[in-house]
Symmetry: C2
Subunit: 273 residues, 2 copies
């Protein structure tokens, strides 16, 4: 599954330039977002009833402008402003504020997600927490870093010792919720409300499992290189690797053993979910 | 209900000394806690299955030592080490780490709660977030401050525009959950997982409602002066003011109108909960 550093070379990409540029993007999005945070800005609701603010839109617009200037042939998929150049084999997938509810309510646990994809597979990801000053960058062939330091997932292999994160219990459908609750009863700690921060905490060995449903690709694609480059695993609930065509359900784990243990409880292969 | 500044004078207390001392306590607890945070320390489970770490215990011990040295006649009630001098009319109530699950999993949203009570009523409270660098201090007769600046609750009076916080949906019994979910469907945003941080966010106008059950006095007493000094209201689910003898359920709101609107949905007076 891991296509390694050859992905960059065979696609004619300059790995270090792209990683540097992804960090530049997060510098800009962080500055825009911090200028809006806790400023009581107006909240609107999208057609799916999820909240959105001017900060989401202006942040994504700033990132789109930077990408289009630097890599005019690359495609962009953003939560707020849709797609452009969808036929390119290179795509940037952006969620300017993951955890808008946290952002609105003054909680600093929202983040910005930036993924770079080649042939629909994420090979570079940034999980940036602008109000916390924490940034994870993961890239194929490199160790994931939190800030300047490499990070590693935990060595926890027993469900009974594991911490489990999900954004909200409301994200699960009825049968999904049964499976999630079955998993929840087997772990040490279940936490809600961390949004994308949970992926960073997993990469740094503080969280052990993240199980989510009702997600869109921009919610998890950036997490894939971050988690894999730290020694973790992330798949859908059927165990398939994650790409732009993945569905709404993901399972991330600190290591293969813990992933298998979690999959044995939640995978629909065992229960025809 | 508000006994005002006369509480201090009639009890023979030096208000500014006590407020300064409460801040000194939070400086010490913050330093102890930050020295433990994200250090992979061992987690034990108490008889109620809640997790506890050496950081909880050593932090509370440090605060107890400071209080006993400075105010040897004052009582102390702490989550980890119980009561001493229970007959004193002056009591310090301490939760060294509120949000131990967050602390364990690397999330910086845990806090330290320090309350000072006269005749079982809280007149001084600190909500300190040592990993976030945010501290709310509230005291009878003074405006609550976040850091050096006074803060105010929001002017939101409509449930439909309000944000609602609770620690976890698992804290509600069956009938409580029905009431909470009825409230949740009426508000704009429901958030879980903020622990005591929600009280600070309420005092600063970012959160509008905090509704909790299954709490102990050390979980909410410190929040009372913080919320009241910022213009908010906190009571139990029956609408009674909070003191050391309060039960496990609290409702905090940005203002009286919003409190009344929330109480109309959740108060057991209307439903014989």
């Amino acid at each position: 599954v891991n296509t390694g550093t050859s992905t960059w070379q065979s696609a004619g990409l300059d790995q270090s330039d792209l990683i540097q540029f992804a960090g530049d993007l997060a510098d800009v999005s962080g500055a825009v977002i911090r200028a809006h945070f806790r400023r009581h800005i107006a909240v609107e609701h999208k057609s799916d009833r999820s909240p959105v603010t001017a900060a989401d839109r202006v942040t994504e617009s700033a990132l789109r402008a930077m990408i289009t200037e630097r890599y005019p042939e690359h495609g962009i998929i953003g939560e707020e402003h849709g797609r452009e150049r969808a036929q390119s084999r290179f795509q940037w997938v952006i969620d300017p504020i993951d955890g808008t509810k946290a952002f609105i309510t003054g909680l600093p646990t929202f983040g910005t997600l930036i993924a770079f994809l080649v042939d629909r597979r994420p090979i570079l990801g940034v999980v940036d927490m602008p109000a916390l000053g924490e940034r994870w960058i993961g890239a194929h062939g490199e160790a994931t870093c939190l800030g300047a330091r490499p990070c590693r997932t935990s060595e926890c292999t027993a469900l009974s010792a594991a911490s489990l994160f999900a954004t909200t219990p409301a994200m699960f459908g009825e049968q999904e919720r049964e499976r999630f609750e079955a998993l929840s009863t087997r772990v040490s700690i279940t936490r809600f409300g961390a949004d994308c921060y949970a992926y960073g905490l997993l990469a740094s060995g503080f969280a052990d499992l993240v199980v989510e449903a009702d997600m869109s690709p921009y919610d998890y694609l950036a997490a894939v290189p971050v988690i894999e480059g730290a020694g973790g695993i992330i798949t859908d609930w059927e165990g398939r690797s994650i790409d732009l065509d993945s569905g709404p359900r993901v399972v991330a784990a600190a290591n293969a053993s813990l992933h298998a243990a979690a999959m044995a409880v939640i995978s629909p292969r065992r229960s025809e979910l």
